[in-house]
């Protein structure tokens, strides 16, 4: 192992952050002093916090022996759970870093043509994965523990704890490295065997992954607290000592209880585990590190142009082609598929709460009058706001094709607007059916909820499309940006204000419901709301046309 090569590779990896940060590179952030100041700061802060806690411990232990015992026990259980805790959060952060990098268009490739071994490459990659929060947190926790241990008289135990959390972080990074390599190979194999279905496999797979991620996230965050979590880990790891990922914790547990043979056994087992994970990562990198996923074959055979439904609906061939192209973009491009995740999560969240799945003791008593708007209005409105804002920017650097093709501004706006409406209607239908089946609202409530969701959809789509054209961002490095940040914010504000205006006629109706007063007829409010929505839609659509004309005439690429 050439350690200099490893160090050089880590430095290169650190600079790959430029891809993620984007164009405006602050050179000051890359100066050595500033790079290491975070880690140094965490270390100094850790020592200071450790000393403060130590002083507190010394003063308390002289006057209150019971508090001293409690303190000793608390710190012991924290130390015992630390290897597992560090493993979990390092795993989360290193995986998040990998997800972020795979989102960037150009990821770091192993420099296989240079005299670098796979051991060096894998080690550098694993250590670089730990840079940032995992390493900063360790730089804080370790010195804090050692500092406080001087006051408590457990220096050896603190040093061992520090070593185990370093090993845990290393293990987490090795697992991420293994997962990344296997994932590339596995997904490639699935695409290859799926043939034309690969597109749908990718679509469904991405949706499932993110839905599962959000459900787990909400379940965890709405469940037990952090202290209970630490206590659970500290007490549970003895029961599941045979699980390799708890061996570091078991090593500390055996040490503190003076069990010499167990201490040695868990130490040897832990070292073997760390080494085997590292060599597993190396061998997988050796095998699949340069693996290129096969291209996805969507169709074979004779080309047969189709006369589509869109043509019969009155769209010109150009407009129909643009809509068809966008349908394919949103079902094939991973960064655009995420659009569908949010509406699904918005439905899942209240449903899971209502069913008492998310750590609640009893099903939610939230009245349907508040859940219904959430299910009917929110998903399609959010989809319209997001889709509209990215519909032009999603073209990316391939925008030259639209610029250089004989496409008028009217066609661009018409096709893009129709696309947003089409997808929003699908979402309204799906969420509406879920809402009706689960909450069984009255016919009147159902009619009004559906009508309002359509009114919101038409107006918000037009507004966000207008702003999306004006603020479009075609840069694709490090990832497709689609809309400039300031225009994205302007879009959110404009859509929020418009939604308030459209729903404003219902304020008096909602008040009567909350106050349990005699309810008033909501249909006149719906009519007023419709007028407001039509006016907003008309004005915003005209502005979208103007913006599109401007965009196509000033297409300075």
């Amino acid at each position: 192992m050439n350690w200099k090569v490893v160090a050089h590779l880590i430095r290169v990896d650190m600079k790959s952050g430029r891809l993620i940060r984007g164009g405006r590179l602050a050179r000051a952030l890359e100066r050595k002093l500033l790079t290491y100041v975070l880690y140094g700061g965490a270390l100094v802060l850790g020592v200071a916090v450790g000393c403060l806690v130590g002083f507190f411990y010394s003063s308390v232990s002289t006057v209150d022996p019971q508090a001293k015992t409690l303190f000793d026990l608390g710190l012991a259980s924290l130390s015992l759970s630390l290897p597992t805790l560090v493993l979990i959060y390092s795993l989360v952060f290193t995986m998040m870093q990998q997800i972020q990098r795979s989102g960037a268009r150009f990821t770091i490739q192993a420099p296989y043509w240079l005299p670098i071994t796979w051991n060096e490459h894998t080690l550098a990659s694993m250590l670089a994965n730990l840079l940032g929060f995992p390493l900063i947190s360790i730089a804080f926790i370790g010195p804090a523990l050692i500092a406080v241990s001087f006051f408590m008289g457990h220096v050896a135990f603190a040093v061992l704890t520090f070593s185990t959390i370093l090993a845990s972080a290393f293990m987490a990074s090795a697992i991420t490295e293994i997962f990344r390599t296997v994932q590339v190979r596995f997904i490639g194999a699935v695409y290859k065997s799926s043939g034309r279905a690969a597109v749908w496999v990718r679509f469904a797979g991405s949706l499932l992954f993110f839905i599962a991620f959000y459900v787990v996230y909400f379940t965890l965050t709405s469940g037990t607290g952090a202290i209970a979590f630490v206590q659970t880990i500290a007490s549970a790891q003895s029961a599941v000592w045979f699980v390799p990922f708890f061996w570091l914790g078991m090593f500390l547990h055996s040490f503190i209880n003076g069990m010499l043979w167990q201490t040695l056994a868990f130490l040897v087992l832990s070292l073997l585990l760390v080494l085997s994970l590292f060599y597993a990562a190396v061998s997988l990198n050796k095998r699949f590190g340069l693996y290129e996923p096969p291209s996805i074959t969507v169709s074979r055979g004779v080309y047969a142009p189709r006369v589509g439904l869109l043509g019969r609906l009155g769209f010109s061939t150009t407009e129909a082609a643009l809509i068809r192209k966008d349908v394919k973009a949103f079902t094939r491009r991973r960064e655009l598929m995420y659009v569908f995740v949010l509406p699904i999560v918005i439905i899942l969240f209240p449903l899971l709460q209502t069913m008492g799945v998310m750590g609640q003791e009893s099903p939610s008593a939230v009245p349907p009058v508040f859940v219904l708007p959430l299910i009917f209005l929110m998903p399609s409105a959010i989809l319209a706001v997001y889709l509209g804002s990215v519909m032009i920017g999603e073209e990316g650097e391939a925008m030259w094709r639209i610029y250089s093709a004989p496409i008028s501004a009217e066609s661009v706006v018409k096709s893009k607007y129709f696309f947003i409406i089409l997808f929003s209607i699908l979402v309204i239908t799906a969420t509406g059916i879920v809402g009706v089946v689960v909450f069984r609202p009255s016919l009147r409530a159902t009619i009004i909820a559906f009508t309002e969701s359509f009114l919101l959809m038409f107006a918000l789509s037009a507004i966000s499309l207008t702003i999306g054209i004006k603020g479009s961002d075609f840069r694709e490095l490090p990832r497709p940006r689609m809309i400039r940040r300031e225009w994205g914010l302007a879009n959110l504000i404009a859509c929020f204000v418009a939604a308030l205006a459209i729903l404003a006629p219902f304020v008096s109706y909602a008040f009567t419901v909350i106050a349990w007063a005699p309810t008033i007829d909501p249909y006149p409010a719906t009519a007023v709301s419709a007028v407001i929505s039509i006016v907003i839609t008309f004005v915003a659509y005209r502005m979208a046309l103007r913006n599109a004309r401007e965009l196509l005439a000033k297409a300075e690429m």
Binding site: S295, T318, W400, Y403, S404, P406, K554, E556
Partner: protein, 259 residues
């Protein structure tokens, strides 16, 4: 003008600046119908800006740009209908298959289903893309992507072809096919305006060549006219180009590198 032919492309006193950088400086140019015209020049000399202005993708600060008598600024859509364009590094819709991409282009240019079927299969066969047309473009090599971009420019039978480095990444056989194709299209009356750094290609296929430098046209004419202008009788385009653009003593640079 002696015989009232109407030029395919006209640029009159065209000026374009990007901030303080003058990209195109008072350029005057006329390209005849069915001519293969080469636009040469070092990096940053303004070639790509001129090509983009012909499509209305970049608006000139001053001057007139006309394609087949249509003012590009006034009716860019009408101009685009008659033009096939391949940019220097064409980014394609990578989530489409080659076939879907060409189908999309055909629809955008208003081609009938029969025309699309016939021409797409013709071009796919000619450029040896058959068998991979159903794969997503993201899995194509650079050369294959270039071929798809070229086919998409030719599909609607344009009257003017604007090609920015058209042979980038093509294998020798495909490059030869494209060169022969350009000659064939010339015979059919198609005008081609191409920008390239490969001087052998320009010398071999262009009827006339313009050499641009720092936003201006330094020299314009056939190979013989350029030789005369550079006072280099019997020389190749490379020597003429280096002399006109003042590339300096290449030999000294090489010797310095070898030290």
């Amino acid at each position: 003008m002696a015989m009232g032919y109407s030029p395919a492309v006209v640029l009159k006193h065209v000026v374009k600046s990007f901030g303080k950088i003058s990209a195109v400086d008072n350029v005057e140019l006329e390209i005849k119908p069915s001519e293969i015209f080469g636009l040469l020049g070092p990096n940053g000399s303004g070639k790509s800006t001129v090509l983009k202005m012909l499509l209305g993708l970049v608006q000139p600060d001053a001057g007139l740009v006309e394609v087949f008598g249509v003012d590009v600024k006034r009716d860019p859509v009408a101009v685009k209908r008659q033009v096939g364009y391949v940019p220097e590094s064409p980014r394609l819709y990578e989530f489409l298959t080659g076939l879907e991409y060409l189908d999309f282009i055909g629809d955008v240019f208003g081609m009938t289903a029969e025309e699309k079927r016939e021409r797409i299969s013709e071009y796919l066969k000619a450029l040896e893309l058959e068998g991979r047309e159903g794969d997503m473009i993201s899995g194509y090599s650079q050369g294959m992507k270039q071929k798809v971009a070229l086919v998409s420019a030719l599909l609607h039978k344009p009257k003017l072809l604007i090609l920015d480095e058209p042979l980038n990444g093509l294998d020798p056989k495909s490059a030869r096919i494209v060169k022969d194709l350009l000659h064939e299209l010339k015979a059919q009356g198609v005008t081609t305006l191409m920008s390239t750094h490969v001087l052998e290609i320009a010398e071999a296929i262009c009827d006339r060549i313009a050499i641009m430098y720092q936003g201006r046209i330094l020299a314009l004419g056939s190979m013989d006219e350029l030789r005369q202008k550079a006072s280099l009788p019997g020389s190749g385009l490379e020597d003429i180009f280096l002399k006109l653009t003042g590339a300096g003593d290449i030999k000294a640079v090489v010797e310095e590198l070898l030290k």
